[in-house]
């Protein structure tokens, strides 16, 4: 059973009569790491939100874990990470990570044990009593990831999580994310506008084109895991980066022809 199954999905925004997504078909299997990449305005963030039932589709079906998306949201089937870490300043790091567990009604002892475990996973042991504003941007993002994975959802949705970070931090967190993905055995849908990031992380890269947003191509990334800093220097890596870049340009050329 696919973790995410999208069929004939179309999303039209009434305001401005914009077709954000058109005829999207995509199936994501358990354990996959799928990146959505495309020019700004191609609807990749919208697609992520439709999967998470934060935006309703205009037509078509979205199932998560075999359930309709609204049911999956009610059942806490996914965790989500935004570009802005969305940590609450009035809560300590530990309490931010515990937020979804509180919503699920876990008792204090169980919450604490899991929070400690999650802070260990993102290598922030000992930072539980800090407040978010005392941490660097990269550390804040790790807290957001710990919070998203705290209740062990089958699916992790990430909306340009490293977009606001500097290149060095981004590359380090890319490596850490792969380690966390491996350890947590979750499925990831990852929105990005960085080709290098998409190729380095993913099992598959879905290249989108804009106006209307659709999936122009899907590139299989056959680089072996575990991937490390050297991966970024391999010939095959560059071939795949080129392949994704060409798919992106082809997508935007089609736009130009259409207009």
């Amino acid at each position: 059973m696919s973790v995410v199954e999208i069929q004939k999905l179309t999303k039209r925004f009434e305001r401005g009569d914009v077709v954000a997504l058109q005829d999207i078909d995509l199936a994501i299997e358990p354990g996959e790491f799928v990146s959505l990449i495309g020019p700004s305005g191609c609807g990749k963030s919208t697609l992520l939100r439709v999967i998470g039932d934060l935006i309703p589709p205009t037509s078509g079906t979205v199932t998560v874990n075999g359930k309709p998306a609204p049911r999956a949201r009610a059942d806490h089937d996914y965790g989500i990470v935004f570009q802005d870490s969305v940590l609450f300043d009035w809560r300590t790091v530990a309490k931010n990570v515990a937020l979804p567990l509180e919503m699920l009604g876990w008792d204090r002892g169980k919450r604490k044990a899991r929070v400690d475990e999650m802070l260990g996973l993102v290598e922030l042991d000992g930072f539980g009593d800090h407040h978010p504003w005392q941490l660097s941007g990269g550390m804040q993002m790790r807290v957001a990831i710990a919070r998203a994975l705290a209740f062990e959802p089958a699916l992790l949705l990430m909306d340009e999580p490293f977009g606001a970070l500097d290149e060095m931090t981004r590359e380090r967190l890319n490596g850490e994310l792969l380690r966390i993905w491996d350890a947590s055995e979750s499925t990831v849908v990852f929105v990005t506008h960085s080709i290098a990031e998409a190729v380095f992380l993913s099992t598959r890269v879905a290249v989108m084109s804009a106006r209307p947003g659709r999936i122009a191509d899907i590139v299989d990334i056959d680089l072996p895991y575990p991937r490390a800093a050297q991966t970024r220097e391999e010939a095959r890596y560059f071939e795949l980066v080129t392949r994704v870049r060409e798919a992106l340009h082809l997508g935007s050329d089609l736009d130009a022809v259409a207009q």
């Binding site: 949201r73 996914y78 870490s85 969305v86 937020l99 978010p132 005392q134 941490l135 660097s136 606001a164």
Partner: protein, 274 residues
């Protein structure tokens, strides 16, 4: 939620004494200014032979305060009770109206114009009216004036706070299938709290002003505003000035008490310093 990357610092523990010491040092410039002003005031009255109905010497005011401290402090306490009652009522209504407005937009639109109109009430003209409504000698009429003054800043700030939640915070809560009540309790209210406390602090000082203005149009004989007014009328300017000093002291103490409450409620927030 702060996106600013900042250097990682450990939470300072056991450094309380040093911080209190630092705080005390912060007060030094203000104290120097106070002493300078008092000295210049004292001396210039003697040098330029300023009439005592224009401004008595600080030393004379202080001496007068000491002689009449029982009467003055009792009056200040009486007036403070009026101010405090009005503060509670005004802030309570301001909060309530803001909550209703933020929750039920339609009802909010019906109430909004009147809430704004409340801020436009010329308070001096209003004081004789509340005296007529509630009787000039009780505390209720002064509470009414203080309440009207407190209402608006609390109302406006609370609405601002409740609606300044970032969309991504709401999306995060919705991803946990959170309902309106959970979103309010865990996101909206904590986000609004610093805004609310700012207004509550402004309202403390306003409530003292409201109570004293009200007393100028008639009040209990023991009330501070009545006392200041009657001492002015009988050329007892030293005690009138001492009364003003007592009113300030109560206002400042009220403000500091709410500021302390704020620090307690918002501990852990990035900045509660002003």
């Amino acid at each position: 939620m702060s996106a600013q990357p900042v250097a990682v610092q450990p939470i300072p523990r056991g450094a309380l004494s040093r911080r209190v010491g630092g705080r005390a040092l912060d007060w030094v410039p203000a104290l120097v200014v106070l002493v300078l002003v008092l000295v210049i005031w004292e001396e210039s009255i003697a040098i330029f032979d300023i009439k005592r109905f224009l401004a008595p010497q600080p030393s004379a005011i202080a001496a007068n305060f000491w002689d009449n401290r029982g009467e003055l402090l009792h009056g200040g306490w009486f007036t403070f009770q009026e101010a405090f009652g009005g503060w509670l009522i005004g802030c309570g209504l301001g909060l309530l109206t803001a909550l209703v407005l933020a929750r039920w937009r339609r009802l909010g639109r019906a109430l909004m114009p009147y809430s704004i109109a409340a801020s436009a009430i010329p308070i001096i003209a209003f004081a004789p009216i509340t005296n007529a409504w509630f009787g000039p000698f009780g505390k209720t009429s002064k509470m009414a004036i203080a309440a009207v003054l407190c209402f608006f800043p609390v109302f406006v700030n609370t609405v601002r706070g409740l609606t300044s939640v970032r969309p991504s915070s709401i999306e995060l809560m919705r991803s946990y299938a959170a309902g309106e009540i959970d979103i309010f309790r865990r996101v909206r209210f904590p986000t609004a709290l610093p805004f609310i406390f700012t207004a509550l602090k402004i309202a403390t000082v306003l409530s003292m002003i409201g109570a004293i203005v009200g007393e100028y149009f008639g009040g209990a004989p023991e009330a501070l505003g009545v006392l200041i007014n009657s001492r002015n009328a009988t050329f007892d300017f030293e005690e009138a000035w001492a009364g003003i000093g007592v009113a300030c002291a109560f206002g400042i103490a009220f403000y500091l008490a709410v500021a302390a409450l704020e620090r307690l409620a918002l501990r852990g927030a990035p900045s509660t310093e002003e």
